[in-house]
C-alpha cells in the first residue's frame, strides 16, 4: 500500500517559477464567505398555499389517480407524473410521524431554545408529512404517533407564510399506533 503521506513521484518534480513572482509568498488558500440573495416567486399552487396561511388555513392537493393528498401542494403528483388541480382544505390537527430532539441551534432562529423537537407532522386528511416544531410539553414526552394541533400566531401577526404556525402542541388524544403513523398509513407500493 502506498504511504498516504508520501508525495507521488510525478508531483515531486521541480516546478520553474517565473522570476517576476519568485519572491512572493505562495497562496495556500483564500477564504471568503459568499452570499446570494434572490427573489423567490412561488408556483401558483404554492402562492395559493402561502396566501391561505394568512387566513389560518392549510391547503393540500388531491391526486386525480388515487386520491392521495399532498401538502404543501405543488401542482403535480410526482408518482404518476400528472397535474393536480384539486385543492383541499386540511385540518390543523394531525400526528407526529417521526421526530428527533435536536441540540444544534439553527442560524437565524434565535427564538429556538436547544434542545428542541423537529418532527414530521402528518395532518389529518393528508398522505405525506412536513417538518414542524413540537412544543408545549417536555421533549421526552414526544413519541411517534402523538396527536398534535397547530398553535398559530396572533391575528395581527399573520402573514403569507408557513411560519404563522409557531409550533405543534399535544392534544392529549390517544396516539396513532406506530404501524399506522406517518407514511405507513398509506398502503405500501409493492415491487
Amino acid at each position: 500500500m502506498t504511504d498516504p503521506n508520501s508525495t507521488p513521484a510525478s508531483l515531486s518534480e521541480e516546478v520553474e517559477i517565473p522570476e517576476s513572482i519568485s519572491g512572493l509568498e505562495p497562496v495556500r488558500s483564500v477564504r471568503s464567505p459568499i452570499r446570494l440573495i434572490y427573489d423567490f416567486v412561488p408556483s401558483p399552487p404554492v402562492q395559493e398555499y402561502l396566501r391561505s396561511y394568512k387566513k389560518k388555513k392549510i391547503l393540500g392537493h388531491r391526486s386525480p389517480i388515487d386520491g392521495a393528498v399532498f401538502v404543501p401542494p405543488r401542482g403535480v403528483d410526482p408518482r404518476h407524473g400528472v397535474l393536480i388541480e384539486e385543492s383541499v382544505e386540511l385540518s390543523d390537527t394531525g400526528h407526529v410521524g417521526n421526530f428527533c430532539i435536536t441540540h444544534l441551534p439553527i442560524p437565524g432562529r434565535d427564538d429556538l431554545d436547544t434542545p428542541y423537537v423537529s418532527a414530521w407532522i402528518h395532518l389529518d386528511g393528508a398522505n405525506v408529512g412536513f417538518l414542524g416544531l413540537v412544543s408545549g410539553c417536555e421533549n421526552d414526552e414526544v413519541h411517534i404517533g402523538m396527536r398534535v394541533q397547530a398553535v398559530w400566531k396572533e391575528e395581527e401577526e399573520l402573514g403569507n407564510t408557513a411560519e404563522n404556525i409557531l409550533y405543534w402542541k399535544p392534544t392529549g388524544e390517544p396516539a396513532v399506533p406506530i404501524e399506522k403513523a406517518g407514511n405507513r398509513a398509506w398502503d405500501q407500493a409493492d415491487e
Binding site: P4, L11, L50, R79, L104, S118, A162, N183, R184
Partner: protein, 387 residues
C-alpha cells in the same frame, strides 16, 4: 452483444483529514489521480476520458468545478463528464465510468470523487431556508435521525447498537492509514457518553467532516489482462432512485434500495449474499444505517440486522461478514468521494491490496453508496476472478 468486461486497474486516495490546507481542490484531486495512475502503471496519455463527481457545488461555492479541474486531471482535449447524485455521487460516478468501458465507448477511464469540506459548510448548505416551510431542520443528522428512531422502534433493537457500530468502525479505521479519524485510545464508554446531537444520535455516532479525493482507473478486458498489479473484475453494477416524500414511502427500507440490491446480486449470480460476499463497504454516515442497510440489501432478515452488529458478525476481528474494514464513512467523510471510497475499498479487498484491513482471501466484495434523503442508490460487486 454482451457488455465488455471491466476491471479496476488502479486506486488512489489522499490521506483524509479535517483540513488539507496545503493543497487547492485541484491539487487534492491531482494527488489522488496520480496515485491511481501509479497503481495502474499507466500514464496520463493512456487515459481516454475522465468522469468526475462531487456533492452539490454550493458546498465549496465553486460552480461546475469540473471545468477548471480539466487541466489538473489531464483531461484537456479529452471527454470529461460530471455526475450529480448528492451523497451517493462517488458510487454513481464510478458506475458511469464503468458504463463507458462496458459499452466499449472507451478502453481506459479515470474516475474521481472529491470534497473539500474545510472550504465549505455542509450542515447549513443542506438546510437552506425555504419560503414554503419553516426552518427547523439542522443538517443531514436532523433529516436521518427520525428515520433511525423509526428503525429502532420497529426492530426492537437494543439502544446501544448504534454505539457498537461507531466503536467498531473507529477500531477498523486504526488499520487504515488513509482514514481521517485515528482514535487510538477511544473506549466504548466514551462513545456512549458522547453528547446527543440529534437524539437518538450522539456526536460519536456521526461522520467527521473531511477533505479528500479518491480516484480509480477502470479498463476493458484486454487492459485488465495486461495489468502488472492485481485487478478487480466488475461482476455487477446497479443504480436506482426514488422521490424522498410520497404516500406509503418506507423511509427505513426504501423500495429503490431493495430493487437496486436485487438487480446487482442477480447480475453477479449471487443468491445468498451473506455466504457469497467476503467483504462489504456500505455507506454508513450515521451509526444505525449499518443494520438498516444490511437488512435492505438482503444480508440480514428484516428487523434482525442489529443482531449482526451485536454478535460481531460485521467486525474485521473474526466476523463472518466484515463491514467497512476501512473505517467507513464514520471514520472519513469527504462527501463527494465517500461513495467512491466504498467502491475502491471493495476493489482493494479482492485485489488483496487492503493492507492491515485486508479480509484474508477475499474473492468477492460489495461496494455501496446512498444519497439525498436516502433516495439515490449505487452499488457494485467486484471479484478477484473474471465473472
Amino acid at each position: 452483444m454482451s457488455a465488455e468486461l471491466t476491471a479496476v486497474l488502479g486506486v488512489g486516495q489522499t490521506k483524509y483529514s479535517s483540513t488539507r490546507g496545503d493543497v487547492s481542490i485541484a491539487g487534492l484531486c491531482r494527488e489522488a489521480a496520480y496515485r491511481a495512475l501509479e497503481d495502474a502503471c499507466l500514464d496520463w496519455k493512456e487515459i481516454d476520458a475522465v468522469v468526475i463527481g462531487k456533492a452539490p457545488d454550493f458546498f465549496e461555492g465553486v460552480m461546475m468545478p469540473e471545468l477548471y479541474l480539466a487541466e489538473a486531471l489531464g483531461a484537456v482535449g479529452k471527454p470529461i463528464l460530471r455526475v450529480h447524485t448528492a451523497g451517493s455521487v462517488g458510487g454513481s460516478t464510478a458506475l458511469v465510468a464503468a458504463s463507458l468501458i462496458q459499452s466499449r465507448v472507451h478502453e481506459k477511464v479515470l474516475t474521481i470523487g472529491f470534497e473539500k469540506q474545510s472550504e465549505s459548510n455542509a450542515t447549513w448548505a443542506l438546510s437552506m431556508p425555504q419560503p414554503f416551510s419553516v426552518s427547523i431542520n439542522a443538517g443531514a443528522g436532523g433529516y436521518f435521525s427520525p428515520i433511525m428512531r423509526q428503525y429502532m422502534s420497529r426492530s426492537g433493537a437494543p439502544e446501544l447498537i448504534g454505539c457498537m457500530v461507531a466503536f467498531k468502525d473507529r477500531q477498523h479505521a486504526l488499520k487504515n492509514p488513509y482514514a481521517h479519524l485515528h482514535q487510538n485510545d477511544l473506549t466504548f464508554e466514551e462513545v456512549v457518553d458522547s453528547p446527543m446531537l440529534w437524539n437518538p444520535i450522539r456526536y460519536s455516532e456521526t461522520c467527521p467532516s473531511s477533505d479528500g479525493a479518491c480516484a480509480m482507473v477502470l479498463g476493458n478486458e484486454a487492459s485488465g489482462d495486461r495489468a502488472e498489479n492485481p485487478v478487480a473484475w466488475v461482476h455487477g453494477t446497479a443504480m436506482r432512485s426514488e422521490s424522498n416524500n410520497f404516500p406509503g414511502r418506507d423511509e427505513v427500507n426504501p423500495l429503490a434500495s431493495r430493487q437496486c440490491a436485487a438487480d446487482v446480486f442477480k447480475q453477479a449470480g449471487i443468491t445468498n449474499p451473506l455466504k457469497e460476499i467476503d467483504a462489504v463497504e456500505i455507506y454508513v454516515p450515521f451509526s444505525w444505517y449499518e443494520p438498516m442497510w444490511l437488512e435492505s440489501l438482503g444480508f440480514a432478515e428484516l428487523d434482525h440486522g442489529w443482531r449482526m452488529v451485536e454478535d460481531g458478525t460485521t467486525s474485521l476481528s473474526g466476523g463472518e461478514l466484515p463491514v467497512n474494514c476501512s473505517g467507513g464513512v464514520l471514520s472519513s467523510n469527504p462527501i463527494g468521494a465517500s461513495g467512491m471510497i466504498r467502491f475502491a475499498e471493495a476493489a482493494l479487498q479482492v485485489r488483496g491490496m487492503a493492507g492491515d484491513h485486508q479480509v484474508d482471501g477475499a474473492k468477492k466484495s460489495f461496494g455501496h453508496a446512498y444519497g439525498g434523503g436516502a433516495q439515490y442508490f449505487a452499488m457494485w460487486i467486484v471479484g478477484a476472478e473474471k465473472p
